[in-house]
């Protein structure tokens, strides 16, 4: 027999976890399961929650001050247009509940500007509290600290980039060696663990805890800057505590700068979402892929229903049945959308992905131009059911959320997290309601 649930969410990233949580919230008695294969691309993500940083097709390329203002003008077919701007607000409020005091930015509709590891600024709607003291709109002078063994963040370079980008403050960068790290290629988790557990490390002046050793190393470089920014490796499980200790002992505000993959703020967000799933009673099956599906004939002309999907557990095929399904397997990076030389496809349900027949039309020569491939994905109706080439729902009980959807370019718009939240929220809520009706 199959493993039975009311709502089955496929995919464990921001869209999938939001969908599962929304389904559990909209239907209290519903049994909700989330099946996820490889670890989500949240580990590659900055941990910032952006709604819309730049208007699509805007050549002026100025960051949007109020993303909600711009939502009304989005083209037909954009995921935000599908769900409507109220749903975006509801989804953000839903996220704020889950994030609790771990995220800031909820006091205003306006975008915040968060410095990135390259010294640019990113317009974003919500940001981890660890980055809060570093906002680029804050005029206080800033010291950036980088580490010799962490080449992804060059503090002096980032500081000069920030100034060149017009940040309203003076920024200075220094590079130190991180106490306790000898390897040139130490993992970000190693830095975090040293600080989390305040492990004993050897320094020039004897053995001491890693936190104190770091403070001592930074102190001598600090002039009169009231805030210091570090790459985002300041602890994992006990990140708040680490930051507070550093801040107290240095006597200045301490903040983190989001880093490229693999990213601790992304991991911390992932952790928080999975804790929320556990609290909400959502069952999680991870490490195994959904490989195919079986339909049952609909009893009238309502189209096909998915009866169950098959999970491949090292060769054993385990049927999982839900009443409603949400597909949140990601885009080209997360491999929810696949491409080869012939075609672009969605591998589980083989849903329709519109694309030019000639693959030379999938891209344009200008690397920073509007790339068609960036917007490849499923086309949904307003219920977020993927549509076939004739504009009919592929399955009556399948909805899709997150970057498996097409019609938007999250990298150019800076809208990835927002679309995942809004569509995950809507798809999950509808699926929960439908399953328990």
């Amino acid at each position: 027999m199959a493993i039975e649930d009311d709502v089955l969410v496929i995919g464990g990233g921001l869209a999938g976890t939001t969908a599962a949580l929304a389904a559990a919230a909209s239907a209290k008695d519903a049994r909700v399961r989330l099946v996820t294969y490889k670890q989500s691309t949240l580990r590659h993500a900055s941990g910032l929650i952006d709604i819309l940083g730049y208007a699509p097709g805007d050549d002026a390329n100025a960051p949007l001050v109020d993303p909600f203002d711009a939502l009304e003008d989005l083209p037909e077919g954009h995921p935000y247009e599908r769900v409507g701007s109220q749903a975006v607000r509801d989804a953000l409020a839903f996220f704020d509940d889950i994030a609790g005091d771990a995220y800031a930015g909820g006091h205003t509709d306006a975008n915040a500007l968060v410095p990135t590891h390259g010294g640019t600024v990113k317009p974003t709607a919500r940001y981890p509290v660890s980055t809060a003291e570093g906002l680029a709109s804050d005029p206080r002078e800033t010291l950036l600290v980088g580490f010799e063994t962490l080449p992804d963040f060059d503090a002096p370079l980032a500081a000069s980039h920030l100034e060149a980008a017009g940040a309203p403050f003076e920024a200075r960068g220094v590079t130190l060696s991180f106490p306790g790290i000898v390897r040139d290629d130490a993992k970000v988790t190693r830095y975090a663990h040293l600080l989390d557990h305040d492990e004993t490390v050897s320094t020039g002046s004897g053995e001491t805890g890693a936190r104190t050793a770091l403070v001592t190393a930074v102190e001598s470089y600090l002039e009169d800057e009231p805030r210091v920014g570090f790459p985002a490796v300041l602890g994992d499980e006990h990140a708040d505590e680490v930051r507070n200790v550093l801040s107290d002992e240095l006597g200045v505000d301490v903040f983190e700068i989001p880093m490229g993959p693999p990213s601790l703020p992304g991991m911390r967000l992932e952790e928080r979402l999975y804790d929320a799933l556990e609290d909400a009673g959502v069952r999680v099956t991870s490490g195994v892929p959904v490989v195919e599906y079986e339909t049952a004939d609909g009893d009238d002309d309502r189209g096909w229903r998915i009866d169950h999907v098959v999970v491949d557990r090292h060769g054993a095929e385990i049927p999982h049945r839900g009443d409603q399904y949400v597909l949140a397997t990601g885009g080209l990076v997360g491999k929810g959308i696949e491409s080869d030389r012939e075609q672009v496809s969605e591998p589980i349900f083989n849903c329709h992905v519109p694309h030019a027949e000639d693959r030379y039309d999938w891209f344009v020569d200008d690397a920073f131009g509007e790339q068609p491939f960036a917007a490849f994905g499923l086309v949904p109706d307003r219920e977020l059911r993927p549509l076939d080439p004739n504009g009919e729902p592929e399955f009556e009980n399948l909805r899709a959320a997150g970057s498996v959807l097409g019609g938007y370019d999250y990298a150019a718009e800076k809208s990835g997290a927002g679309v995942s939240l809004a569509t995950g929220y809507v798809a999950g809520t509808r699926a929960g309601e439908e399953a328990t009706r």
């Binding site: 490889k38 190693r190 663990h193």
Partner: protein, 448 residues
Amino acid sequence: MSNAEQPSDEQPGNDEFEPIQVFPEAEEMDLRPGADDCYKCSTCDTNCPVAKVDDEFPGPKFQGPEQWRLKRQDDHDIDDSVMKCSNCMRCDSACPSEVPLSQMHNTARGEYVEENMSKFSREYVRNRMLANYRSLAPLASMFPRTANFVMGLSITQWLGEKTLGITSERELPEFATETFREWWAKRGGAQVESEDKRIAYFHGCYSNYNTPEVAKALVRVYEHFGYEIVVPEQSCSGTPMFANGMLEDARRAAETNVRELAAAIEDGADVIASCSSCSMSLRQEYPELFDFEGTEDVASNTWDAIEYLRVHEDLRAELEGTSVGEEYDDFAYHAPCHSRNQGLDGQTIAVLDAIDGIDAHDVGDSCSGISGTYGWKEENYETSMKIGEEMFEHMENSNAETGLTECPTCSMQMGHGTGYEIKHTLEVLEAALVGADSDGVEPKRKEE
């Protein structure tokens, strides 16, 4: 799972066709497709419990695809850091690109031990002993009381550390006074016969020699559901051998297991394992490393004991309304890495939820740190305990005072770090479905 090309002896065509060997026989695994798939996102590195606590360990990305490329040049030996990998295999499920990391680690370790480690070194002898626990266990279990007494002596432990490098911090596991196989023979084997519900039980070494109560629980639970149980001849699953680079030992063990289990499958049985590392080994490592006849067959017909019941029986309905004694009140559950990799981490909590009065609390996703033989080595003991720290903390913060897991060595580490008593999920199911300690209970249903 694996992207690697397996050397294959299969030849197409009919009997008359005699192919001429044009190319030399492929004797080595070609891991290049896997290495090419690595795009250096480093997600594997963030999942590595060893790299997190040990600055000297370069992590799975280096041990796998990078080292594989390096040693294409003949002037590069395998880096000795590969012996610091604990074979938790977390990197496998982390990789978004399906790079066969643990397969690369296993082959690299095998090559390192074969070519760079002296067969007369203390390390080699110690590792070989630990890896081949299965061949020492029969002796100890012949005189279990003496063996337990001798191994419990501090002089023995001191000697173990000084002469062999086996940490004296741990207490060696006790041997049962009666092995599972002895019990099974004494009771006269299967007590349920069935044409269409049949399982072949792969009990593994630990539940045979050390915790036969787990194996007995499996028997009682499966007979309760009307299954005929066969207990084929079997050798060690090979897990400790892979982890120590003893690929030849593992190959011998696997050959026996594949032969016996494939025969049982032929007779209509599915293979069931109660230890998550055993099932992982049969399902993933065998097809990655070996190509005996029937390897794939065994892999795709092997199941975790509880997973099988969930899919083939209405386990939830059967458990609904059952309850267990007070000793099974609250549990701090730890999902072993090798069960996590099989997508089984949420299973135990979901199943036990149906039983009245049980509160099973998941203690989070950290590795226990012992990883089979890894934490027994003197040089790894400290690392092993550092990795386990997070789990110990979470266990102590939960209300429970009993631990729960499906892996024998995780269970040792849980007990070692917290002093808690540790149970196996099958023991809880046994208590709920047939009553605890019900030796010789009549099965409720019998297939005609």
